[in-house]
Amino acid sequence: MSLGKLLERIIQLIPVLLGVSLIVFVMMALTPGDPVQIMVGEQSITPEQEAELRRNLGLDRPMVERFFIFLANAVQFDFGNSFYHGRPVADVIAERLPATIELSLVALVVALATAIPLGVVAAIRKNSVLDRVATVGSLLGVSLPGFWFGILLIMLFAVHMQILPVSGRIGYDNEVAAVTGFLLIDTLLAGDIGAFGDALRHLLLPAITLGLPMTAILMRVTRSSMLEVMRQDYVTFAEAKGLPRRRVLYRHALKNALIPTVSVAAIETGSLLGGNMIVETVFGWPGLGRLVVESIFLRNYPLIQAAVLLYAVTYVVLNFLADILYTVLNPRVKL
């Protein structure tokens, strides 16, 4: 793909991002209740103080102007102060972000590592017992409510069998110095293998819960694209060349079959973002998702606004990357 085309695609993103920001802005601007009232809470302030606050927050200006101020600030990661934490929203979010990213990445790895082999085997042994089990499993996977599945896992593995922890990212006795914020990395940097294992054990159930719907979807995509690819002439030709079956399946068929899988995976990574709120709530995971849910009950609007915008922008960018990835992987498609 040429640089020019890439640039063109990036420029096409701008109206979408603007629209997304507008919706986030309007969403919060229309929120009932006076932000100043919420901020001040029970404290009593003089009308002068209130007017001052209003001016500082820019609430006295017209809506259109406020939107552009919001945009200008957003570009600089300035989302104001979190009422509750008394610190800039950006700082609070940055603090919680590694936990969420770590969980999402592990979920993604778990999903890819199970979905692709399962999908491939199901396709190769179409209509076998394994294929049927996988097909039923994927139907279950998309039908299971994540929050309930998470609770079941906790009941089974943490409460009943007591082999995995109930919640949190790491045991109190295993805490290590935060360097990257990613515990799997930080524990290794600290050279503490025990703590690394503990972090991994904490990650396991949330990652499975978060990755389950994605696993189900990716398995289906892999299976059907593998079946599709195996019908292609180039697979017959590869067989006619007398190549070993493994090479026909994995080099000729799978390489093409993975193209849709990878691009669906990129899109579905976006849907992990929504799942994070649920999973982090169920497993007491100190990430951004739980922060947002807590903020809703605290009516911490600047934080909600920033987080929703962050999620939406990430989502748009992921979809964009999925698009690009598809063209890069597929030499035939020219942008």
Binding site: P15, V16, L17, G19, V20, I23, V24, M27, M28, L30, T31, P32, L139, L140, V142, S143, L144, P145, G146, F147, W148, F149, I151, L152, I154, M155, V159, S224, L227, E228, G270, S271, L273, G274, G275, M277, I278, T281, V282, V292, V293, I296, F297, Y301, I304, V308, Y311, A312, Y315, V316, N319
Partner: protein, 297 residues
Amino acid sequence: MTDATLAAAPSAESLFRRNLRDFRRNRLAMASVAVILIFVLMAVAAPLIAPQDPNETDLFRRLQPPGWAEGGDWAFPLGCDALGRDILSRIIYGARISIFIGAAVIFLATGVGILAGLAAGYFRGWVDVVISRVVDILLGFPYLIFAIGLMAMMGPGLLNIVLALAYKEWVIPCRVVRGETLAVRELEYVEAARALGAGPRHIMWREILPNILSPVIVVSTIRMAHVIILEASLSFLGLGVQPPTASWGSMVSDGRAFILEAWWVSTFPGLAILLLVLAINVASQALRDAFDPRFSE
């Protein structure tokens, strides 16, 4: 004029019958339809079926186990929650919320989606540009986050949930309808209707819509399952229907605090969600196989 154009259109009627027959032959699909109907019946006739008042609390029955377990009482077959309310009765009443919200959101979204999609696909030009832009922007939000943002803004409540979900949901039928309309609008029978002087309204509603309805119905049923899970998720987070109204998602949430001593509080309502959603998914897949084989393998 209508007669002539109808004759030229593909005979949607007979195709529909054949598809319906295919669908009926699928036993698993029929079982799923039965499950769905049972849930609908539960929802409609909840006051007649429920053994107890779903909101009647009694602390003497706090966390009482299911009927078959030790300390259980068959008057409360699935046990009681932390306030001593009958879980089975609450599940029966909870079906009302899930099914009402699922149906209302899909109904609303499909209606709006059809209107917008037909307009975009038929008129094209600036109408299409505007609608497609809005669709793109709405697609820029992860679903649950969009709904959570809206719920945070509008506050909890039944109508607000329906709106929060429908605000984004309509995009999906809209895209399907737009795509199908673009494909169908140049076909001969539509051209014929146009040549015979039919107006855009007649063409859109009488010529195009009946012929693109299959994929729309298929997509709507699949989406219904998603919407039910989304509602349950919102309720689980405490952003859905407010207590004491029974909703499956909030019932699961209620049970979280008691997973050590009372597994049944969370388990049964979740099972209800799984059953209903699974039934809808199986049925919609069969529907898709029968009516819209393009998308099945």
